[in-house]
């Protein structure tokens, strides 16, 4: 292979991509453009901005200079053509689906999803005429079998919630592409530091930026990224992107640009009409996290490995669901797709049923009991009574959850303190279960 010029490294992009020092003030930090709107130079300039003849900002629901830095930076880290920051990860998922599909369309999705995503697909979108078939993420035949004439999207999480099924992106992407549809992945648990889904074949991805990207448990946000690789017109299934659209002055988005068509419609229709945009202050706060992503993720993984090792050897622990362990069903896939680590969120099954679970959680001192993951601080939750409480027993089982399942999100504390905290809580669980 010929030696080409070099791209900036991940760490450099995490700090710089998307922002030059502010031309107005020289500010090195990303300025917070806390404004709704932007003064036009004259009427011709205004008309040109509205008609997409000039680059720039009109109204902060559609685009904002601070938010644009975050969008460009995440697109750079993921290797996409661009990104759209949204009010939350759920808003990013909704924006992707609403851009690609009309009523009557169908999705095939992994059954191992965040409870909110399961709700959106299994219940809420049904009200709007969009159906979803759920399949076990590792069952490649089920993915294939479930695709029908109206299917427009395959969707899964890079690491499934909460059993940490590793999505076989190359295999599922090939199935999607054979059917002429894109693969969307939720890459929240892996972040671009641990996995680059586009390099494995995914077409679209999104993050709940609330989690590891922001990284400090302060801010809700999402970001939707397009690889620009899916050929909408060639597929023949996406009139939304490859035929004139009366809802945007007869624009044929793919005529405008094959690689930007999806983001064009998502921004110009999706943000305009659904309005789930990101606020500039939010973008600034998430950017503070992104700037240290490459430092935090290795430590998250290192601490997680120590905790996993401790739990796997403990008498009160039935199973630890972490794909780096040889007993995990996706261990081989993990070695292939996640060589830098399988993230810092995982579940384990506690012996002793609900009383033991309750005692365990209440005895913890360092871990915080709450409904979030991907904080710098270590977190714990009991999915059956919180994030997944709306799911039937059967759906819970399909998602690999039992009454004793506990989910941990490992933070950046001294790992010895985390192990001691868990040891104390497991002792309490043993007493409660005895």
């Amino acid at each position: 292979m010929a030696a080409g010029p070099k791209y900036p490294g991940f760490d450099t992009l995490a700090l710089h991509a998307g922002q030059s020092p502010d031309p107005a003030t020289g500010s090195r930090a990303v300025p917070i453009y806390q404004t709704t709107s932007y003064v036009f130079r004259d009427t011709a300039h205004a008309a040109s901005l509205f008609n997409m003849e000039r680059a720039g900002h009109v109204y902060s629901r559609i685009s904002n200079p601070t938010v644009a830095v975050l969008e460009e930076r995440i697109a750079a880290l993921e290797g996409g053509v661009g990104a759209i920051a949204t009010a939350s990860g759920q808003a990013a998922l909704h924006l992707a689906i609403a851009t690609l599909m009309d009523a009557g369309c169908h999705i095939v999705a992994s059954s191992s999803l965040y409870g909110g995503s399961h709700n959106l697909l299994g219940y809420t979108l049904k009200r709007f005429g969009l159906d979803t078939t759920f399949v076990r993420p590792g069952d490649l035949d089920a993915w294939k079998r479930s695709i029908g004439p109206s299917t427009r999207l395959l969707f899964g999480e890079t690491l499934g919630n909460p059993g940490l099924d590793v999505l076989d992106i190359p295999a599922v992407a090939a199935i999607a592409h054979d059917a002429g549809v894109p693969l969307l992945v939720d890459a929240t648990f892996t972040t671009p530091y641990l996995m680059k889904p586009f390099e494995l074949g995914a077409d679209l991805l999104y993050h709940s930026a609330t989690k590891f990207l922001g990284g400090h448990g302060t801010t809700i946000g999402g970001v939707l990224v397009d690889s620009g690789r899916f050929e909408w017109g060639k597929s023949g299934k996406f009139a939304q992107l490859s035929e004139p659209y009366a809802g945007f002055h007869g624009m044929d988005f793919e005529d405008e640009s094959g690689t930007r068509a999806f983001l064009l419609r998502a921004r110009r229709e999706g943000l305009r009409d659904f309005g789930a945009c990101m606020a500039p202050m939010t973008a600034f706060q998430i950017l503070q996290g992104v700037e240290t992503l490459h430092l935090r993720m290795p430590r998250h993984v290192e601490n997680t490995r120590k905790v996993v090792q401790f739990l796997a050897a403990h008498a009160m622990v039935e199973t630890v669901l972490y794909p780096e362990l040889p007993g995990h069903p996706d261990h081989e896939l993990c070695k292939r797709l996640l060589p830098r680590g399988a993230g810092a969120v995982f579940s384990f099954n506690l012996k002793g049923g609900r009383p033991a679970g309750r005692a365990f959680i209440e005895a913890l001192r360092v871990f915080s009991h709450l409904a979030n993951v991907g904080d710098a601080k270590s977190l714990v939750i009991h999915p059956a009574t919180t994030t997944h409480y709306r799911m039937s027993d059967e759906d819970l089982k399909k998602a690999g959850i039992t009454a004793g399942t506990v989910r941990l999100s490992i933070g950046l504390e001294d790992p010895q303190d985390l192990v001691e905290d868990l040891d104390r809580a497991l002792a309490a669980a043993r007493r409660a279960g005895a």
């Binding site: 292979m1 010929a2 030696a3 080409g4 010029p5 070099k6 791209y7 900036p8 450099t12 992009l13 710089h16 991509a17 998307g18 922002q19 030059s20 040109s48 008609n51 997409m52 003849e53 000039r54 680059a55 720039g56 900002h57 685009s63 904002n64 200079p65 938010v67 644009a68 830095v69 969008e71 460009e72 697109a75 750079a76 290797g79 996409g80 053509v81 661009g82 990104a83 759209i84 920051a85 690889s227 620009g228 690789r229 050929e231 017109g233 004139p244 002055h249 007869g250 624009m251 044929d252 005529d255 405008e256 640009s257 094959g258 690689t259 930007r260 983001l263 921004r267």
Partner: protein, 268 residues
């Protein structure tokens, strides 16, 4: 719209307007491996401001199928045939990089059909390094990396796309990933082999504008000097940009084009 050129389909972006024989026409010609939408903002402007727009995809590029054309001269013939197919008698030609050589060649060959030429990110000779050609010949990813990195100013990856939320490198790589094997090599070789630039420049009868980037790594500004001097009466606008001038400095590029294309053409 899809035109029929030499028995093959050819895609032309028209900014969602029907062609009107009463309006002046601006033709946009992209560079090696890219497509019409590299001129997205500028072509859209002219389409919505009293001009017919034909932003063409060369064969094998963007949405035009078929094998790539092997020489700049063949591309010039193809452009003139595309004008025939679109029933356009004459037009202003705006060409970038490889497209600039094609515009130059069209102006030399058919002065009666070319009203103006604007040459962006150009050089003559447009020599391509052997390493770049070889990587493209082998369809090696390194060729796409060279096209992407040298195709932008050095600071582009470190920030600030004027087009909100977009990552210029990613957009370039996504376009290149869609090319059939051999297309980039054919286009680069055509640039490298083009040998009649100065003769063609001397034959240019129409107004000519050079828009050059001060930070261009692919075709450094000084590499256009000989060509600028050879085109009678040519003007130059230098912009703080790399090779992808229309993406890196979209408004300044548009302003230069508006100024140039709106000016009356001197009587021939």
């Amino acid at each position: 719209m899809l035109l029929e050129v030499n028995g093959a389909k050819a895609f032309a972006y028209t900014a969602a307007h029907e062609l009107d024989p009463q309006k002046p026409t601006v033709v946009f010609l992209h560079g090696a491996g890219l497509d019409h939408s590299w001129f997205g903002l500028q072509s859209r402007y002219f389409g919505y401001h009293g001009h017919n727009v034909l932003a063409l995809d060369f064969p094998g590029h963007g949405r035009s199928p078929g094998p790539p054309l092997a020489t700049v001269e063949q591309m010039a013939s193809w452009v003139l045939q595309a004008l025939d197919a679109a029933r356009i008698r004459s037009a202003s030609l705006v060409g970038h990089s490889m497209g600039s050589l094609v515009a130059l060649e069209c102006a030399a060959r058919s002065p009666q059909r070319v009203e103006r030429i604007a040459l962006l990110g150009t050089a003559y000779p447009m020599k391509v390094s052997e390493g770049f050609l070889e990587a493209a010949r082998n369809n090696d990813q390194a060729a796409y990396d060279m096209e992407t990195i040298w195709g932008h100013a050095p600071k582009v990856p470190l920030g600030g796309n004027p087009n909100p939320g977009m990552w210029m490198y990613g957009d370039s790589l996504a376009r290149l990933a869609r090319l059939a094997p051999g297309v980039l090599h054919a286009a680069l070789k055509a640039c490298n082999d083009y040998a009649s630039g100065l003769e063609s420049a001397a034959k240019v009868k129409c107004p000519a504008l050079f828009i050059l980037g001060d930070r261009d790594q692919m075709t450094p500004r000084k590499a256009a000097g000989e060509l600028v001097a050879a085109v009678p009466g040519a003007r130059t606008v230098a912009l703080p940009s790399g090779h992808s001038i229309m993406a890196e400095a979209p408004d300044a590029t548009l302003d230069a084009l508006i100024d140039f294309i709106a000016a009356p053409v001197p009587a021939k």
